[in-house]
Amino acid sequence: MAGTEEENIKKESALAVEAGRNELIAEQLKNDVISEIQAKLKKSKTEIPAETKEKILQSTVNRLNQILPRKIGRLKQELVDEAIRAAAKSQKEIAEIAKKEEKTAEETFLRFNIHFRIQHMMLFSSVILLILTGLPLKFPAFSPFAFLVDLFGGIESSRFFHRFAAVILILFMVYHTLYTILHRDGRRDFLLLLPMPKDIKDVIWNLKYFFGLSDDRPKFGRFSYVEKFDYWAVYWGCVIMIGSGALLWFQDISLMFLPKFALDASKEAHSDEAVLATLAIVIWHFYNVHFNPDKFPGSLLWLHGRIPKDEMMEEHPLEYAELMKQKENQHQVEKSNDTENT
């Protein structure tokens, strides 16, 4: 592409030279020089014979005729060369930038779309707040928790923050449900998150790998069994926590219809599930996304949703293969479309 344009410019400039513009310019320059000489001759105090004047002018004109076309031609050629060089340089730069962009587009994949990311942010911010305001109630005898309660302004305002966070969690659940039903990605992800026989095979394979009976890790699709576990743990947790929590929040209303022991059972389930969820997050989720040597100290995946190509190939090879296949198909379709159009 770049080469042909360069040639075009060269040809054009050569044509311009050939078009005899040089001579036009040469004529003008010659006239200028002659008129200047004539002016100078007029001004001179000593009398110069007219013949001599004619001779001087004639010799000047001859000399100018000899050198001007050559000089102008050379100058023009130089200018053209410089212009060509500048054009080539900027073109190279443009090409480089384009190449870079292409490279970045190639190297990362959008793993989580904006809805998914907002849901995750709602989930983690509400859960952190819920744990901080809830855990002291489970272990009131553990004295550092008294500090935590004070941090939120005493038990009454700590209670308010707990319920505020609960509202965020409920909104998250509603958002996620609507997303799963209404959004194309949501429906696809939900189906991909369903437990499959392959997950059991993957667990066995991974265990084999851990014990050195297999040389490579199992090949995961878009969601590995680890991620599926996380997803369904949150699902189970949300159902238990929101269900029992709502009964306890509106206990005066729930006691209108339910016996006290039902609420006591809710309280027990709420606090026990809270401990389980906290442990699962702190031990399991934090290991998988933070403390794992490959990941430490964590990535910004939750913020931009993009995953680098190498990580994609390593952790989700099946999804990567699928994507590549789709891309190829698309290319082929485009190509066939092009040929049809032409």
Partner: protein, 358 residues
């Protein structure tokens, strides 16, 4: 501190000049008995109140002060017949720490001065009790003496002298019955809950019966197998309360949440079988439904145990919920940790192999 300083000066003066020398001379008990020994010796005050002035000598002889003479306490009487009405006896003359008279070494009067009674006296309330109002005057006896006004079995009656309506409630309560009728010496009287010398109003955060401290006060007995356990009373009630929402809120400083007394009552505490008890199953809706608590409480509040212990099988469904989550948590976390350890192990192995290759 100031008080103590004054006392030290008083002690030093008194040790140089014995009381008797200040009073001029010890007036023999017999001289006093000339008038005060006559049964029926009394005075009618301006208000029409009859004041008994007869002193039964045998009462004094049975008291802890049998060796003392009248003027040892009534020190302002220096001549007979005395012209002025003697002032109220001040026990602090002898009963301070480091006294030379052999009186019990104690600075409980300091606690008394901080108490609601002591402060009332200081502010000029003539009806407020001073030492002898509780400990007795001529008949004051050792605390361990069953006839003493401050013996465990008599304290309620002594306090009831002034707090008559509360006394009436107390004697019908389980505590009053156990102590006064069944003579169970561990059962509490007034001072076991309110304190002895340092009795404070219940609104004072330092008071033993303030909402902040009441759980601790009740727990002293109700959390102890040695004290209530031997009567077959459950000792788990305290820990179950502490793990309930009420107990947790109290722990973190709530003053409005229910404490022991909110449900069980104060002076008229009765077992739940008693139909008059606020924790009787019939009364639970009204007890829980107090205006500041759960207005509109219904019989559903009474369905299920109040003091729930999730670790006890008697708790029914709650026990099974706790059981389920206990093992779910254990198994899940063990599995997850095992997975992490195995993963780390394999990673480190690979890492070492890579290092070797290099």
């Amino acid at each position: 501190m100031k008080n103590k300083f004054h006392l030290i000066i008083a002690i030093s003066i008194l040790s140089v000049f014995p009381l008797s020398s200040i009073a001029g001379a010890t007036i023999a008990i017999q001289k006093c008995m000339l008038c005060h020994g006559k049964p029926g010796f009394k005075k009618v005050e301006e208000t029409g109140k009859v004041k008994e002035l007869y002193v039964n000598l045998s009462t004094i002889e049975k008291s802890v002060h049998k060796k003392k003479t009248c003027t040892d306490c009534h020190a302002d009487v220096v001549e007979i017949p005395h012209k002025q009405i003697p002032q109220k006896v001040k026990c602090i003359r002898c009963h301070f720490k480091g006294n030379p008279d052999g009186a019990p070494q104690s600075d409980k009067y300091l606690e008394y001065q901080e108490s609601i009674h002591g402060r009332a006296v200081k502010s000029g309330n003539r009806k407020a009790p001073i030492c002898q109002d509780c400990h007795g005057n001529h008949d004051s006896k050792h605390t361990k003496d069953v006839l003493s006004k401050v013996h465990k079995s008599n304290v309620a009656k002594t306090c009831g002298g002034c707090h008559i309506d509360i006394y009436a409630q107390y004697i019908t309560s389980i505590h009053g019955k156990a102590l006064l009728l069944e003579h169970r010496i561990e059962a509490p009287n007034c001072t076991d809950c309110h304190g002895e010398h340092k009795i404070l109003e219940h609104t004072d955060p330092k008071s033993m019966v303030n909402p902040v401290n009441i759980v601790k006060t009740c727990s002293h007995c109700h959390n102890s197998v040695e004290i209530v356990g031997k009567y077959g009373i459950e000792t788990s009630q305290v820990s179950t309360y502490e793990h309930s929402f009420h107990g947790i809120a109290v722990k973190f400083g709530s003053k409005t949440v229910a404490n022991c007394a909110s449900c069980h009552g104060k002076h008229n505490i009765a077992p739940s079988e008693d139909p008059s008890s606020p924790v009787n199953i019939k009364n639970i809706p009204s007890t829980c439904g107090q205006p500041n608590c759960h207005p509109g409480a219904n019989i559903n509040y009474a369905k299920g145990k109040m003091h729930v212990n999730p670790k006890s099988k008697q708790s029914g469904i709650i026990y099974y919920v706790a059981f389920f989550f206990k093992y779910l948590t254990l198994l899940t976390i063990i599995a997850l940790i095992a997975h992490i350890i195995l993963d780390l192990n394999r990673r480190s192995k690979e890492w070492r192999e890579q290092k070797k290759k290099i």
